[in-house]
Symmetry: C2
Subunit: 242 residues, 2 copies
């Protein structure tokens, strides 16, 4: 066989280029091949192109051939790098203006049968949505996420007020882990509630976010549906509330 020296994996120059692409971000347009060369100490445009082709193959960037400055970084791919690399790329990932548009699936309230986003998340046009900075989220895939506007004060005990927007991730009963804050649908009580979820011997403990309030217990026999896991709560405060 053959086993080349460094080959696979990002080399110093890949990092430099990626880093420069990030720094260049605030210019409003991508750099040209020559500009990349100057900044990364590569004298030949063909070499820069060589690396760009690799970055494209690895999936870190996308290019539109024959178009000046026709390239863009792929934030998702970059996010994967996480903190693997130091400063240069770190800063990059954060510099990448990346907003995630989360579909507003509807409203949720004590008695409302909690809506679930279009089963397959297929495609939602210019519907209403909430834009969140990727840097605010737990850096996971943006799919599976949906938002709900809270209607009514029934979730006061979960520290969630009327008008708040909760960002949720689709999750099944099985996937739910102790300590997750989830939206629970209790068919028998015809009630939806947001609580911290804990499995105990033969019951479920639903703990309110407000530490001054007591948990409620649900016997294991009672049906219980986890509709989603709360990832974030956003409260916009208007000028003249109340």
């Amino acid at each position: 066989m053959m086993m080349v020296r460094k080959s696979k994996g990002l080399g110093e120059r890949h990092i430099k280029i990626l880093g420069f692409l990030g720094e260049h971000q605030d210019k409003g347009y991508p750099p040209s091949i020559r500009e990349i060369g100057e900044q990364t100490g590569i004298s030949s445009t063909s070499v820069v192109n060589y690396y760009l082709e690799q970055l494209e193959k690895w999936g870190y960037i996308e290019r539109d051939r024959h178009i000046s400055r026709g390239m863009r970084v792929v934030p998702e791919r970059l996010a994967e790098l996480g903190s693997t690399f130091a400063a240069p790329v770190q800063a990059l990932a954060q510099a990448i203006n990346e907003l995630i548009r989360i579909p507003l699936a509807g409203r949720i309230g004590a008695s409302l049968p909690m809506p679930v986003p279009a089963s397959d998340f297929s495609y939602y046009g210019p519907e209403e949505g909430v834009e969140i900075a990727r840097s605010l989220l737990p850096a996971k895939k943006a799919e599976e996420l949906f938002a709900l506007e809270v209607s009514g004060t029934s979730m006061i005990d979960a520290m969630v007020n009327d008008g708040d927007i909760v960002i949720m991730r689709q999750i099944s009963n099985a996937e739910t882990k102790d300590g997750d804050m989830v939206a629970v649908w209790l068919p028998e009580r015809d009630e939806t509630t947001l609580k911290y979820f804990y499995k105990e011997k033969n019951r479920y403990r639903l703990q309110p976010a407000n530490p001054t309030m007591e948990p409620i217990y649900i016997p294991k026999e009672e049906p219980l549906e986890i509709r989603g896991k709360v990832v974030m709560v956003i409260r916009k405060i208007a000028s003249g509330a109340m």
Copy 2:
């Protein structure tokens, strides 16, 4: 004097161009003059350039001459348009990937002497900050904004929990209007609290956000300092809370 027909103000073509710049946003790089022409029904590159120069003069975009696709929209300027124009620009403003980086000024807690951002908001480097989508904010200037991380559960009654991040706008006592949710510093009680603020005959009423809780009254004689107005509250919920 002279008063030309339409002149001053954005015309249909300006709007179209601005709109196209927005739509083109997700490509990752700006369009070329010719591309703009095609999409907006302008056959001559010089005419497109003509409009771009105007948009630049009006401050809607910035250009880097002699650089392919060297232009970018100025979100702040665009935000001013507000809902003045219909769909096209509306969508634009929202499509503009624009994150606002709000400096994290520090922590706030019942007994902590609430920190205030670097007096003049001069310049803050890569300090910690929170990135918010402009579309989530009340579309005002991003300056004057700062964020605080809440420490402790002393503001539970304001529906704000330990770890929450509150986005605030600097505001003086005089500017405060009834109904604003503000951070109030009570020197005599050595206490900082978040409450809805109301002026009454000879006292101030500080109303908790949680409707089930009673307001507290501060006699007008007692010193009271409004440190900021709460614009938004963000709660990130970790997987294994509690």
